[in-house]
Symmetry: C2
Subunit: 497 residues, 2 copies
């Protein structure tokens, strides 16, 4: 890259972005974690049995401090866990800057390629020079991520060896629901072994399914949805300009339909399915067929339909008409059906076409499948995500300084301007419930699904009918970083609080 193109590149300009830091986080000596015993919800006795040390820890809240005190330098490790989400690099930048503010000789190291890097002690020191090359950039490529988990006794021992070797005060795990569950298990293990390394989670996932009282949304959700909405808006304009295709757009998001719901509100497609409404496959096909036939009567042989990734995940093989099982169902190495790998967008086009034929539909129907996922997970973070993740990094540093473990760093009041955001902590054991996983009951953080009585869904439900025949498509356009603050700093519509 020549110097000129580099200076005028957006990527370069984003390096210079100064995230808006909440007022409460500007001077970390003015804020303190106060430990208080009482929990709002009593813990499940089984959780107490499985996490005796974490369960006995007092909960924390942040209060003002009038007596700033000096701190020794901290040594902290950080790791990305699972799929990437926009803003990850700013968590690290915030953590670094805050640790420097707390004690300038603090050290930060990053483990490589996900939790597996902790196990084999693969790491790199995170210096200012290095971090300055990743501020407000997309991706997780400063460290890369991975999906290996720390869950067996041998893995716990390896992790312990690594943190002891580095004399880490804390390990920060940037991950989704499962990674944060694992963070609690690891925190409990360290406490049980009298290893002083704290374990602190950061709520990451574009799926938006990691929410709690303190966690209004996971980071990355905003940018990913805005990137998908940019494309859906463009595709909808194309539908309207060319009048030729029904675009079936599948969106990432696993079981939860937060991404689809957010994108639907941002773009107003003709149809958007929400898995949480639990419709049968035949009902879904019928709804699309009815839409196609009604639109054809209105002279419209095109449209836009949003499909959440998890729409048919509970479907059984027998729900599928026999003759195209072979075409759409992949089998794994053991010959098992991989329902999750069905390309729902293509399957639905096929089924709708068949059903239209059966009903004697005479109009045109051309389906165009799309899958939006990898296009958004590593996008350059929106100002919202850049600010939010930077504040999360600062909040995590507070947790390090004040000795918290088994907590997720959080930032609240995200509907307000960043100035008024407030750092907070969620105790992970208080988020756990029991689920059957691999045939065994396990304590996990419950995925937050779309609340069918919540504001975003109700808003969608009240509008969606009007989107079906009239074309009220919105084109949000590409994420902007400069200009009107109201436009560029706006967060997602779907915030739980």
């Amino acid at each position: 890259m020549d110097k000129n193109s580099s200076t005028h590149s957006l990527s370069h300009q984003r390096l210079l972005y100064c995230p808006s830091l909440p007022a409460k986080l500007r001077d970390l000596s003015s804020i303190l974690c106060e430990k208080r015993q009482e929990a709002t919800h009593p813990l499940d006795p089984r959780i107490k049995t499985l996490f005796p040390h974490l369960a006995s820890l007092p909960l924390s809240r942040l209060i003002s401090s009038k007596t700033p005190s000096a701190h020794p330098p901290f040594k902290v490790g950080v790791v990305f866990s699972g799929g990437p989400a926009p803003g990850g690099h700013n968590v690290i930048a915030g953590l670094f800057d805050a640790l420097q503010q707390i004690s300038p000789s603090s050290e930060l190291i990053g483990f490589l390629n996900g939790p597996g890097g902790v196990l084999v002690n693969a790491f790199k020191p995170l210096t200012k020079v290095l971090i300055d090359q990743f501020r407000s950039q997309g991706g997780f490529d400063l460290l890369s991520s991975g999906r290996e988990k720390i869950e067996t006794p041998e893995q716990f021992a390896s992790a312990a060896k690594t943190v002891l070797e580095h004399k880490l005060n804390a390990l920060i795990i940037i991950g989704g629901d499962d990674s944060n569950t694992n963070a609690a298990v690891l925190a409990e293990y360290f406490l049980s072994k009298k290893i002083s390394t704290q374990v602190i989670g950061i709520p990451k996932t574009i799926d938006g399914d990691l929410q709690a009282e303190e966690i209004e949304i996971s980071f990355g959700f905003d940018t990913a949805c805005k990137t998908y909405a940019e494309l859906i808006g463009n595709i909808a304009k194309d539908a309207l300009s060319s009048k030729k295709y029904y675009h079936f757009i599948k969106l990432m998001g696993r079981s939860a339909s937060h991404v689809t719901l957010e994108c639907a509100l941002l773009t107003q497609p003709n149809l958007a399915f929400i898995s949480e409404e639990k419709k049968e496959l035949q009902q879904i096909v019928d709804e699309i067929v009815s839409l196609v036939m009604r639109r054809e009567k209105a002279g419209k042989e095109y449209g836009v339909i949003l499909i959440p990734e998890g729409l048919i995940e509970s479907m059984k093989e027998t729900d599928l008409p026999e003759k195209f099982r072979a075409q759409f169902i992949q089998k794994d190495a053991h010959g098992n059906i991989q329902v999750s790998q069905i390309e729902t967008e293509r399957l639905l086009i096929y089924l709708v076409k068949e059903e239209l034929k059966q009903r004697g539909y005479k109009g045109k129907f051309h389906g165009q499948p799309h899958f939006l996922g990898y296009e958004g997970r590593c996008a350059m973070p929106s100002n919202f995500d850049a600010n939010y993740t930077y504040a999360l990094g600062f909040t995590a540093a507070l947790a390090v300084r004040d000795g918290l473990t088994g907590v997720i760093a959080a930032v609240r009041h995200l509907r307000s301007s960043a100035e008024y955001w407030e750092p907070a902590f969620a105790s992970i054991v208080h988020l756990l419930h029991f689920e059957i996983r691999n045939g065994k009951e396990q304590p996990v953080i419950q995925k937050t699904l779309v609340d069918l009585k919540g504001g975003p869904f109700l808003r969608f439900a009240s509008q969606r009918k009007s989107w079906q025949i009239e074309d009220l498509y919105l084109q949000p356009g590409p994420i902007q970083f400069f200009g009107d603050k109201e436009l560029i700093d706006k967060g997602p519509l779907n915030l739980s609080k």
Copy 2:
């Protein structure tokens, strides 16, 4: 949409964008089409026979005029032809504003749903109030487009009826190479029938394959490529962050690989194929397999590969190993093979996997197919395309005023800032050559393919090797409309002049 969200929406803010008008187009009374007889290239005698009237017309160039004259009002029709491209609405806005400047009582009407709208006289009057809702917006939805052609004697008669009914001074056809060929045929027909309606083309196509001495690039190419490059950059970051997949990204662009070349220069993938290099399928597979094996040795089991839409269009069915012909080849209603509908990205993943197996490759290889096309054709036009199309509209108005027909309105010196751009006209008959189409030799505008001796390709060829093993991915990010002029006003790299 509530008032608040509307005012702060990007779409609203783009409505207020004032395109940068070239200095030469600001005062249209200071510029004049001078007709001069001499053509640089003599016309093919067969063209002279087919287009006797157009062939005898003098060529034009724009010169300064010192004697402004008053003009009667003009009545002009405009139509979109073929696939949409970002900027179409600004052609119409520029045309409208320029006609108002030339003579304030001028009228503009838009034909609906493509050239078919001319045949059946389906139109809407284009008022300032209406046009003001579409300035610098994506899509062609003000009028919608279509692919019907005006080519049979009956169609010519219908078109004549329509333009005579409206007493149109001119019909502006916004289209690609074929639509502009048709514009010349229609212009010749009108001349032969002594119908005074001029026919003027506008060079549109995201494919970038409509180029000539006067036409440095077609409009829409810049925005579409920047939109695809945004996504490729995001996907490349994901490859690097997750280290899990080879992303096979197919890009729209028909036979020519301009889009792929432009995107490759903007994002630096590990491999990008250029159809014009005319590689055999086996060679393509071998190159990918070799890349995968060499990267695996470097500890990299992921990558990014760009595939132009036309890569295997000359492939014969027999080039495909028998066992997956059924899987990848679709047949049309007549049982003919539709090679163009092969999903090249999926075919290549399949073939590469097979070949790796054959060579005893022990590493991981997971291919992830993508097709980018509809995501970019209706994106909000970049400043470059918004400015360029607005200037094209002004140039077309000059052609109307000065009585030109059978020309394409063009704007030159696009490498300079918009201030210095220059309006120009290309005589369509001078762009025609003969090609076999549907078994018949026909005069058509020659598609401009990637020039393997041209600057953009040579730059790519000199760098591509270094992109293979090292990951030099660039992330251009989303198109920006506000901020640093150097960033937001930059046009495409691939300009023929």
